[in-house]
């Protein structure tokens, strides 16, 4: 069983991970967010398109797969850092405004970090490190 999984190759496992992360982000953004605006939708679909293209390339072991995966990882990382900064600053703003009696507590900050970090910062950073460990693009 393990041998069979191993034979599938790291590339294809990364492709599956790309699809899973893309689906999670899409569901979170499209189903959970109460707002729909082009300023959110355009970057979101750009990131999803890149992740999907990367997954297809990695699954098919295409030549261009590494380059597209690198671009997808960098775009996702930058978007993640931007979103995280926005959320944390908003929480800090409310905390400062309402004071300790009514503002978001440390738990809210921790929850935000846990929800955003794995998919939009840790995963793309891991992708970049993995690509780097493979050496120059084929």
């Amino acid at each position: 069983m393990f041998q069979r999984l191993k034979r599938l190759g790291v590339d294809r496992w990364v492709a599956v991970a790309n699809v899973a992360v893309g689906a999670t982000i899409a569901l979170a953004a499209l189903a959970a967010l109460p707002i729909r605006s082009p300023s959110l939708a355009v970057p979101l679909f750009a990131v999803l398109a890149l992740l999907t293209a990367s997954a297809i390339g990695l699954a098919a072991r295409a030549r261009w797969a590494d380059r597209v995966t690198r671009v997808a990882a960098i775009v996702l990382l930058l978007a993640g850092l931007l979103v995280l900064a926005g959320l944390m600053l908003e929480l800090a703003f409310h905390r400062g405004l309402t004071g300790p009696a009514g503002g978001p507590g440390p738990l809210s900050f921790a929850l935000t970090l846990l929800l955003v970090l794995p998919y939009t910062v840790i995963y793309p950073a891991g992708l970049l490190l993995w690509l780097d460990s493979r050496g120059p693009s084929r």
Partner: protein, 568 residues
């Protein structure tokens, strides 16, 4: 290459972000002591207008806090209010939008200083002038206008050269001298949940709706010009009038309900295939038909409403025809194609289930009960997104219907859903720990953000759903421990509604308070001034359900029920 720069980049980012957030919290937090000699703002209000004001230092312990305006106090109709400046803080002046966002609605005031002169707007001033935003902050242009007027300068000059401070304010209303002798008015100031207090609040809400009902059966709502007539609010108000009229045995309320019901019948009815429905030229509306069916079902319970019984059966037949195979409902009926259409919507499903459950009491048709039961199972048993149900966005009518159906078709799975729905609802409720404004505790925020002002319609609906869940849980024999938290949350919501019913705790800010023209109504939020039909109907229904829950038997009015207080 990446392995070298990426960790450094992320560490630098984390440090900058953490530092930025900490700096923002520290900079914005109102930490400073109020300016010496300006910690108390004593105002005399008369007929909704400011009669006199003194800004003073904190009086010595035991001293009369209203002494500075003792002469005003003796004038009839005067209310003295002390606004205590608890702390001061900075505001953003980078842009006017950010300036407007730098205040907590309902709590904060502002002081502007220009060329050594001060101008102050207290929380009461901002409420009276309608300058708080419903969600967050203030109307910056309006605030600058008022401050510039006080200083006798231009708004732009004040913005360029003035300095601004945020004032965190708490408030004490001094007892009237002579004291209020009208027992009913004094009773309205009580917020403990007793049967007599609930009965008074329901009567006031009913009277408000009757006053807003025109001869032709249409309600006059204070909705903004251009907004279409709110048929859902009309139906909800009709249901509340019928229910409260029956409960309080008040002919005036029942008669008004019948008039509003006939207006629904005359203005909204069209044919949808073989059945009548509520809608327009192209479509029959399932949600609107369900609301109307609910109203008809309540009107049909009394002898004078016998004309509504046939209508109830016909409209129930339309709703049954709109039901899909999975138990959900088509959102509309396409009159050209003669069939149901539209995507599944939980709110429409909930409306239809509740309406059919109530209609079954009138029609006695087992098909209505079966349709309601199937709809309820669809709403509470269906796995939603990734298997997780939408507990936060769930419609309160699901739980009202679950409770209504309990004696006829008990559904323990639906009760479990409602218990989870109420538990998740705690995230939206403002408790003592998370209340930026203490008076708003018990209220429900419109969304998951950090909005400090509750939405009173959402509060009423969530509270009604919680009361229905509690009633069903008690009947199902659930342990007292498992429902204690729910009981406390429900009481918090009811107490807020009692506090916010007009004229409310800030009646002295309303010019018409003595005339009682808005008496009994509810505004959309505590920082709004105009009562709304939909909110009043929702709040009235919640209070009525609470009365039924806490009153042991008919005729026991006046006897205090369990005295509750919110402790979160």
């Amino acid at each position: 290459m990446t392995a070298r720069w990426l960790p450094r980049l992320l560490i630098a980012y984390a440090l900058v972000l953490t530092g930025g957030c900490a700096a923002l919290v520290v900079w914005l937090s109102p930490r400073d002591e109020p300016r010496a000699g300006a910690s108390e703002i004593l105002s005399a209000w008369r007929q909704g207008a400011l009669a006199a004001r003194r800004i003073t230092a904190k009086p010595a312990a035991g001293a009369d806090p209203g002494a500075a305006l003792a002469a005003e106090r003796g004038t009839p109709g005067t209310t003295l209010v002390v606004e205590h400046v608890v702390r001061e803080g900075r505001v953003f002046t980078l842009t006017r939008t950010l300036f407007g966002l730098s205040f907590v609605a309902g709590r904060d005031g502002v002081r502007a200083t220009l060329n050594g002169r001060d101008a102050t707007l207290t929380a009461d001033d901002l409420l009276r002038e309608r300058l708080y935003r419903r969600t967050f902050g203030v109307d910056s242009e309006g605030v600058l206008d008022r401050l510039a007027n006080q200083l006798g300068c231009g708004k732009d000059e004040l913005w360029r050269s003035g300095s601004f401070r945020r004032l965190v304010i708490t408030r004490t209303v001094l007892p009237r001298d002579p004291p209020e002798l009208d027992l009913i008015r004094r009773a309205r100031q009580e917020t403990a949940v007793t049967t007599s207090r609930l009965t008074l609040a329901i009567k006031d809400a009913g009277r408000f709706l009757v006053q807003r009902l025109r001869e032709d059966g249409r309600f006059s709502d204070g909705a903004p010009a251009g907004a279409g007539y709110d048929w859902a609010a009309h139906a909800a108000a009709t249901v509340f009038l019928a229910e409260s009229g029956e409960r309080l045995d008040a002919y005036e309320l029942r008669s008004a309900a019948r008039r509003a019901g006939r207006f629904l019948q005359q203005m909204g009815s069209v044919r949808c295939g073989p059945n009548p429905c509520i809608g327009g030229l192209e479509r029959g509306d399932t949600g609107g038909s369900a609301d109307t069916l609910l109203a008809y079902s309540e009107l049909a319970t009394e002898k004078a409403g016998v004309a509504f019984r046939g209508l109830t059966a016909e409209l129930a037949s339309f709703l049954r025809a709109q039901q899909r195979g999975n138990g959900g409902f088509f959102t509309y009926y396409d009159r050209a194609r003669q069939r149901g259409a539209g995507t599944d919507r939980d709110d429409v499903d909930a409306q239809a289930v509740l309406a059919l459950a109530r209609a079954h009491r009138i029609t006695g048709n087992p098909a209505d009960l079966e349709a309601a039961r199937r709809g309820l199972r669809h709403l509470t048993g269906r796995p939603g997104l990734l298997g997780a149900r939408d507990y936060l966005g769930g419609d309160h009518r699901v739980c009202v219907a679950m409770n209504d159906l309990w004696e006829r078709a008990a559904d323990p799975a639906a009760l479990d859903y409602c218990l989870d729905w109420t538990s998740w609802g705690a995230l939206l409720q403002i408790d003592r720990r998370s209340a930026a404004v203490a008076e708003y505790r018990g209220g429900v925020r419109p969304n998951l953000g950090w909005v400090p002002v509750p939405d009173l319609t959402a509060t009423a609906q969530r509270t009604e759903g919680a009361i229905a869940t509690l009633a069903a849980a008690v009947r199902a024999g659930r342990s007292a421990d498992s429902i204690r938290a729910l009981d406390v949350r429900m009481a918090g919501g009811v107490e807020l509604l009692l506090r916010e019913q007009l004229p409310g705790a800030r009646a002295y800010l309303r010019p018409d308070a003595e005339a009682e023209s808005d008496l009994g109504g509810f505004t959309r939020s505590p920082v709004d001034r105009d009562p709304r039909l939909a909110t009043t109907a929702a709040a009235g229904s919640a209070l009525l359900r609470c009365l039924r829950a806490v009153e042991p038997a008919r005729g026991a009015t006046g006897k205090p029920a369990r005295r509750r207080s919110v402790k979160h």
